[in-house]
């Protein structure tokens, strides 16, 4: 209990004193996760809508695979990205290992199946409602994809938040591909891991509280701007 209260006090102090290292690490965490989330949503939303409105041979297999990949172990993703971008790996020449770019790539791989699956679930339900109407007024498949994304936007915000939560709290993959390098690739989760291993539980807890506050703030801000809870409509 003492360590938790100390952690809370230290967290407040770090925030109130505008600790430069904390701000840098927090901003880096946000940069990595928000960039990965942006790329993921650009892939996931159209893919989810396309899977909802089309029928082709391997559609069910793709959906089942995406659902299975929601629980993709981050450490394994990290390992695979590490191998690909290591010097002797196929993309080693790009020199991305131990950079935030590699961390973003790892997070995109982790987040995309989750966001796609959640988005697909809501768009599939909407498609069941809309299908006959859209077909009857000659809406093309491409237009249907756009309409589904637009009318599911609140559910897509929820899917994005789930992706953000998975990304911002992720440590295994980004530790492997980022290396937790001070002033370069250290983010909140890897910093917490480091401070815990050093035995500085108060600082680790302080960083943990900042991480939780950050996640909650983003969630609140998203709901506020997205107006997802107004009018009781999804």
């Amino acid at each position: 209990m003492n360590e938790i209260s100390q952690g809370l006090i230290q967290a407040f102090w770090l925030v109130l004193s505008f600790d430069s290292e904390l701000i840098t690490i927090s901003l880096r965490s946000l940069y990595v996760t928000l960039t990965a989330l942006t790329i993921s949503t650009l892939i996931a939303f159209p893919l989810a809508a396309f899977l909802a409105v089309t029928h082709f041979q391997f559609r069910q297999a793709i959906i089942a695979t995406l659902n299975a990949l929601m629980g993709l172990p981050p450490v394994v993703v990290g390992l695979i990205v590490y191998i690909i971008f290591s010097r002797s790996g196929p993309l080693g020449v790009l020199g991305l290992l131990y950079t935030t770019s590699a961390m973003i790539i790892a997070q995109v791989i982790i987040i995309t199946p989750l966001v796609t699956s959640i988005a697909h679930q809501s768009m599939q339900e909407l498609w069941a409602d809309y299908r006959n109407l859209l077909i009857s007024i000659n809406v093309s498949k491409m237009q249907s994809v756009g309409i589904l994304m637009w009318d599911s936007k609140k559910a897509l915000i929820t899917a994005s938040l789930a992706g953000f939560g998975r990304g911002i709290g992720e440590v295994g993959a980004i530790m492997i591909v980022g290396g937790n390098i001070d002033n370069a690739t250290r983010v909140l989760t890897t910093a917490i891991s480091l401070e815990t291993s050093r035995g500085d539980f108060a600082l680790a807890l302080a960083l943990g509280f900042v991480l939780i506050s950050l996640a909650i703030s983003v969630s609140f801000a998203t709901h506020w701007f997205g107006k997802t809870e107004r009018g009781g409509l999804q």
Binding site: L126, D129, Y130, N132, L133, I135, S136, I137, N138, V139, Q143, I147, D151, G231, L233, Q234
Partner: protein, 234 residues
């Protein structure tokens, strides 16, 4: 575009016949009523002619290509399908899909909102309105593009008398403005009020297609006679 011909149209699901073989010729003018008891295949036939259902056999022919004919049709479903948008956006939707300018679409939406008495609710979410209001929106949305052919599947089945009358008035007006209407119903009174000609469907087969007067004076089959007398049609 007319006459519309259904030639040996048959629909089966898992080798079980739903309708057909059906041969039908529908001319341009007036309101044709598809009459029959529940389960006689009215909805299936309407959906087949409109192209919502894949034919197991036979074909539907217009005097223009099917793709051109599809652009001139609209369909109103028994349970109104509302987009998760405002009344105005629902009304303007088919125009937006056809890339009509926003100002024209908005003006048309306002005109139709007035016609159906919903100008005060133009900014409300359509899904929050009553069943009758939603069905009125569905009919107005179908007519906003001035289709040459309008299909309606028991559009007033669950509505009160006043709402039913309002929708019937809109349909009579649309018909007099050149829109061909093919509407299914099991409401004999409605058929008497609206029909120019009656198509009587029984067990998935067209048992009669003749003028309303002839159908009422000389019921062409045992089932038709039972239906007119209000008996249970098996």
């Amino acid at each position: 575009m007319f006459p519309l011909r259904a030639i040996d149209v048959k629909i089966e699901i898992k080798r079980k016949r739903l309708i057909g073989p059906i041969n039908l010729e529908i001319k341009q003018n007036g309101i044709s009523i598809l009459l029959g008891a529940n389960g006689s295949g009215k909805t299936t036939l309407l959906e087949a002619i409109h192209g919502l259902r894949k034919l197991s056999a036979g074909k539907v022919e217009w005097t223009i290509s099917n793709s051109l004919a599809a652009a001139e049709q609209a369909f109103v479903f028994q349970s109104p399908i509302m987009l998760r948008r405002t009344v105005a956006e629902n009304l303007a939707f088919p125009l937006k899909v056809r890339r009509i300018s926003k100002s024209v679409a908005t003006t048309e939406a306002m005109i139709w909102a007035k016609k159906i008495g919903l100008e005060e609710k133009i900014k409300q979410q359509a899904v929050l309105l009553s069943g009758g209001e939603m069905q009125a929106i569905a009919v107005a949305r179908a007519l906003i593009t001035k289709p040459k052919m309008l299909f309606l599947d028991e559009p007033t089945a669950s509505l009160d008398g006043a709402t039913k009358k309002a929708i019937e008035d809109i349909l009579i007006s649309a018909s007099s403005n050149g829109t061909k209407i093919l509407m299914s119903t099991h409401d004999l009174g409605q058929a008497k009020r609206l029909a120019k000609d009656i198509i009587f469907l029984h067990n998935g087969i067209v048992e009669a297609h003749c003028s309303k007067e002839k159908f009422l004076a000389e019921p062409p089959s045992k089932a038709a006679k039972q239906f007119l007398e209000g008996d249970i049609v098996l």
